[in-house]
Symmetry: C2
Subunit: 427 residues, 2 copies
């Protein structure tokens, strides 16, 4: 293989013909592969089946976890998540099976009622805005889009969002009400925010008194190397600057135990806790404490969580390796037609293909039976201005499937790039 | 005992002294009894422990209930609740552990976005109103109060809300956006809406095109006699008049299996289903389908649910009987100082004491260690204009405790009434 960027028309045409042959072979396989969503595979979920073997639902306090009560979560569940977050139990709210729903609930509270620091409910801020580090998580962006926020893209760097830009924007504009963050092993790049980024998030001056950081620790224990990366805890850092009411941290066990039946949690200041409990108490009597107790008895504490995640890791490393190996073997020799991230944790690899090619790659994959997240979905309004980014999720398929999918993906990337190069030469 | 209403001052004073002696004996017992909330007791929850004995979470369709997906609920769970509601599976949405949260979500959708029939979101209707049959369920009223609706009381009758009043109000005022109903074994009276009431609910003309009936079938299978009362299904009836988008029916297994860890459901038109799924898809990926599947495998179908509820009934009838027997033995001889409902199902008995006495009764009970739902809580803004109503919940305590609590309650009623009569004679 040679560098595509140095090929002439004839060479490109010949290479295209070769690739078309390879593509046809994949077509003939009638594949049905999916690397779209960040879903754990059956082998990961099987590891958690032990948590179902429980018959006594008496809590440490002697209460009955089966009945109503304890809106803010079982005490022992708050202790577990406090350990994971690195905060105090009274700063933790333990919810149901969905941290996304908790985020939605809090955006909704801001919109309908406002927060204690709000001059008015966010619904009354006509040109309300929310910061979206890009590429980011489509479901985050969708919530604020649903509530009529203008989504302002902020570029991601390997150290987190570009803080020069963030600081400038939030200092000037009081209609910017918050920012979406996935600080550890970011979705989709797999970057971890630097200590400096976290400090600047805690310290920055915001024009809006009710600016909120939605800090989604979805992958806080999802290490893919033996290095257990730990970062400063935003809620604790923010106390140094008196900005702790700005912080809502989230996590869940969706990608630890069961995606559809895990336990979610919020960490926030005690003041914020009082306020959200008052609002939540109108909405729900209490969350599923039986499931909370099952999780506590099974995972025990942060150490137990990390031990469990080590079992996940053993199963996930080969899948991530398969993708990255295919990329470097198949794409690197073709010249600067693509680059990708090398995450130390989390659920995704970002693949950046030659600008203008991402949609075409996804289409070629789809027509051959491989579903990727729609090109552009990591950007507000699903519009990747470069049409370059693809989010690769290697966690759900089996290793065999990941290997096949990665090979197919490389063929599609090369095809799309050659199509583009040929089109450019024709112009 | 003689009729209090015919007693003179001296007789009342003598009777009061006797009652005070009895009250002191209860005080000395240092009781800690609770008949406040509609909570199932441990003996009821124990009956459902069998549902936890399940290891295979493969659905009938061969999918994995542990993973993400199926926002609208597992197919087999939709089938189960369709059977219970008396509607079609495609008209059923199966949620998480809280039907209250589903109701909150729908009020919120109306408020923030409106429904497809809405001229504008409810938030933009300045003097928005909601009808509240009284006495009713405090948590229903609280949701609409939270969202700034004026709560309009409508009197309950043994056949349901006074439909002459309801029809007149909704026909005239397009700012009335809905009504809260507990049609079967109403909370707190235990009344079941008549066929005529249900028909009129379906048929009535509403000035608001987006008027919604929140039809909480919390007690649809909670029969307390051997008579299985079945009423016309509002969603089906409404189709006769083309008003099916008006109807949101709710139920849950909170008072069938586990209060804190049951499964909730909505029944509505297919049009409404499409709309709410679109909105919900921004909020949550899917609800806890493992718990849904456990419930389906354990309860099987409506027949299975009814068989399970027969076991509840055997344990609940003695408790309801203890309350009613105490009332008729202790209160009836005192003349027209109180009356109460005789529910054929549900979770509550309404006790109506002489106007002006309910708060005092609750206070006397509380000071003696018996917690009742706060007097007035069955009315909007917690204001019972008569100060007459007390909601009695005999389901949670043991039979011994219910017997003691009922005796104490009767003493407190008599004391409060005598205090009132003496005060009146002093004027």
């Amino acid at each position: 293989m040679a560098n595509y960027l140095e090929m002439n028309r004839e060479e490109l045409t010949a290479e295209k013909a070769k690739l078309n042959e390879q593509y046809k072979k994949f077509l003939a396989m009638n594949l049905k592969l999916n690397m779209a969503r960040g879903k754990p595979g059956p082998h990961q979920m099987d590891l958690a089946m032990g948590l179902l073997q429980m018959n006594d639902y008496t809590t440490d306090a002697g209460t009955d976890a089966r009945n109503y009560g304890d809106l803010e979560g079982l005490h022992e569940a708050r202790v577990l998540f406090a350990d994971v977050f690195g905060v105090k139990p009274e700063e933790v709210f333990v919810g149901g099976n969905s941290s996304l729903q908790l985020m939605y609930n809090l955006i909704n509270i801001g919109y309908v009622f406002g927060f204690p620091e709000s001059p008015c409910p966010w619904s009354q801020v006509e040109k309300r805005k929310f910061l979206c580090p890009v590429p980011g998580y489509d479901r985050h962006f969708a919530i604020t889009e649903e509530y009529g926020f203008e989504l302002i893209s902020v570029p991601m760097t390997p150290n987190g969002p570009d803080m020069d830009i963030v600081e400038k924007l939030v200092a000037e504009d009081d209609t910017i009400k918050g920012i979406w963050c996935v600080p550890q092993y970011s979705n989709p790049d797999g970057y971890t925010y630097s200590d400096e980024t976290i400090d600047r998030m805690a310290k920055m001056k915001t024009a809006a008194p009710d600016f909120k950081i939605f800090w989604d620790e979805a992958y806080i224990v999802h290490h893919l190397t033996e290095e257990i990366i730990e970062t400063p805890v935003l809620l604790n850092e923010s106390k140094k600057y008196g900005t702790e009411n700005r912080v809502f941290m989230f996590t869940s066990t969706s990608k630890i135990t069961f995606p559809g039946a895990g336990v979610s949690a919020i960490a926030c200041s005690v003041d914020s806790m009082k306020y959200i409990c008052k609002r939540f108490s109108v909405m729900i009597i209490s969350y599923d404490k039986m499931n909370q107790l099952r999780h506590v008895r099974f995972l025990k504490n942060k150490e137990g969580v990390l031990a469990h995640m080590a079992k996940h890791r053993r199963r996930l490393i080969p899948c991530f390796d398969a993708v990255k190996t295919a990329f470097s073997e198949e794409l690197t020799p073709c010249g600067d037609i693509a680059h990708w991230t090398n995450p130390k944790g989390g659920y995704f690899i970002s693949l950046y293909v030659m600008p203008g090619c991402a949609k075409r790659v996804a289409q070629l994959c789809k027509e051959c039976g491989l579903t990727l997240t729609g090109a552009g979905s990591a950007y507000p309004y699903h519009k990747d201005p470069q049409d370059s980014h693809l989010r690769i999720a290697p966690t759900y398929p089996s290793l065999d499937e990941v290997e096949t999918a990665s090979d197919l993906l490389c063929v599609c990337v090369k095809l799309a790039v050659i199509e583009k190069l040929l089109a450019e030469k024709a112009e």
